[in-house]
């Protein structure tokens, strides 16, 4: 597909072909003003492509825009409830999930604050919460981590892993190359107006899969990215060169994690 903003304007995207199978995490990178946001808007269905088409988008699609300091005349909870209902939830369920996600991102105290009075960071938490509260089958994140505090960033990493584990597709852009490093199933880079696949970062060395169980109440230490696996364990896939360090972090966490298996991937 291709996209341009007006007949006499240059093409922002041209000849793009991207497949996002269910349950995959896709990273898109590229320079500033390189069309990343345009691509994500088309993927999310906010904009239609100028040529070509986008097919098979799931019914429940959610999008977190690049900037979300919106001056809406609603409170955070009321906005989220309205969006939950737009996503097709019933009223009670929408309120319940809105409260749940505000709590998870540490913004429960701002539920009754008018949106116009929220700080930039809290606004961003509301933006992320509106996307997650419907349990989307396609989640599109445009620099969604920017502006969040460390705890909320970890929570969003975890939420992304939960969504992909539940079979949803997640497409994201982030300026931080370490964001979810090693986790994405596919990695693309925008060069000019076209999209080229990027080989996995660890092409040179073998990869190691670590399955670890969390201690009661334990959260994944910062700097680590994993996805929930079956029977409650967390699966971390890392470069072999980094695996010893990851194991040390897990075992050295307070309280320590239990490492179930370590296996080298072919």
């Amino acid at each position: 597909m291709g996209r341009r903003y007006g007949r006499r304007r240059p093409w922002v995207l041209r000849g793009i072909s991207l497949e996002v199978p269910p349950g995959t995490l896709v990273r898109v990178e590229g320079g500033n003003g390189g069309g990343k946001s345009t691509l994500l808007r088309v993927v999310a269905g906010v904009d239609a492509p100028t040529e070509g088409r986008v097919g098979g988008r799931p019914k429940r699609t959610a999008y977190v825009p690049e900037r979300f300091p919106v001056a809406l005349p609603l409170t955070a909870l009321s906005y989220l409830t309205h969006l939950g209902r737009v996503h097709g939830l019933g009223r009670a369920e929408a309120v319940r999930r809105a409260t749940h996600w505000l709590e998870r991102f540490g913004a429960a105290g701002h539920a009754r604050t008018p949106m116009a009075e929220l700080s930039k960071g809290t606004s961003q938490k509301v933006a992320v919460a509106q996307a997650l509260l419907a349990g989307p089958e396609l989640l599109v994140l445009d620099e969604a981590w920017t502006g969040l505090d460390a705890a909320a960033r970890r929570e969003l990493d975890l939420a992304v892993a939960e969504r992909t584990a539940a079979g949803a597709s997640v497409v994201f852009v982030d300026h931080d190359p370490a964001r979810l490093a090693g986790v994405p199933d596919a990695h693309h880079r925008l060069e000019g107006t076209s999209l080229v696949p990027v080989a996995p970062s660890g092409t040179a060395g073998p990869r190691v899969r670590i399955r670890a169980a969390a201690p009661p109440g334990g959260v994944l230490p910062p700097d680590l990215a994993g996805r929930p696996g079956p029977d409650g364990v967390v699966v971390l896939t890392v470069d072999a060169a980094r695996s010893d360090k990851v194991l040390r972090i897990l075992l050295g966490a307070r309280p320590p994690w239990h490492v179930c298996t370590v296996e080298e991937l072919p």
Binding site: Y5, R41, A44, G45, V46, D47, A48, T50, R60, T61, A62, Y63, V64, P65, R67, F68, P69, V70, A71, L72, P73, L74, S78, Y79, H82, L83, R85, V86, H87, G88, A127, Q130, A131, A134, V140
Partner: protein
């Protein structure tokens, strides 16, 4: 769609941007309608004032939601439905205001030369015609078709004026039919004008909604 309408209505009501057009319309009705005037004249007057009000209110609704919030809603429900909900919210608001304005005209007017039910039906039809025509003007003079605020306000004002004075406009036809009816003692039934206004509103709404998807 119901959830989107509810959301748009909440945005409109809480933004309080509806206050200015409502005050203007209320003043227009209060100044121009006196007890004892012929009821058809008063109904036509109230409906004519409703046209720019509807354009104004629909423009407010179409521009009311900040872009980031609109994008989130568009991902959830599709940009076409988000735009349609905004336009419909404005139209419903205009119909409510129109019902109040024509209700006042109907209760205060002198019903000599017509029957109560005939006047009520004619007033209702003309109100609907003017609300639909005004909403069409508003939809065409707002985001996403016209993004610049000054230009949008200017074209909406001009468009409303032209919709009232130009002969092909359904609003002009319906309002002048009421005025003629008041002179001749017959009560018109502007069904053709209503059909034209419905078609016009449908076309204007479709153009605006499709543009919402194309232009974001």
């Amino acid at each position: 769609m119901t959830a989107l309408l509810r959301y748009q209505a909440a945005l409109l009501l809480r933004s309080q941007r509806w206050l200015a057009p409502c005050v203007a319309y209320a003043a227009f009705v209060a100044v121009g309608i006196r007890p004892g005037d012929p009821v058809l004249d008063s109904l036509g007057y109230a409906a004519a004032g409703l046209l720019p009000f509807a354009a104004w209110l629909v423009r407010i609704c179409a521009d009311n939601e900040p872009r980031a919030a609109r994008d989130c809603a568009a991902a959830a429900a599709g940009p076409v439905r988000v735009q349609a909900a905004a336009l419909l919210t404005g139209l419903v608001g205009a119909l409510i205001a129109g019902a109040l304005g024509s209700g006042a005209a109907f209760l205060l007017g002198d019903r000599a030369g017509t029957t109560t039910s005939a006047a009520a039906v004619a007033g209702g039809l003309v109100t609907a015609v003017c609300a639909l025509t005004g909403a069409s003007v508003g939809a065409l003079c707002a985001r996403p078709l016209l993004r610049r605020r000054g230009l949008g306000v200017l074209t909406a004002a001009l468009g409303s004026l032209l919709a009232l004075v130009l002969a092909p406009s359904p609003a002009h036809g319906a309002v002048s039919a009421l005025a003629t009816g008041a002179r001749s003692g017959s009560t018109p039934l502007p069904l053709t004008a209503l059909a034209v206004a419905l078609a016009l509103a449908g076309a204007a709404g479709t153009v605006a909604c499709l543009a919402a998807e194309r232009r974001g």
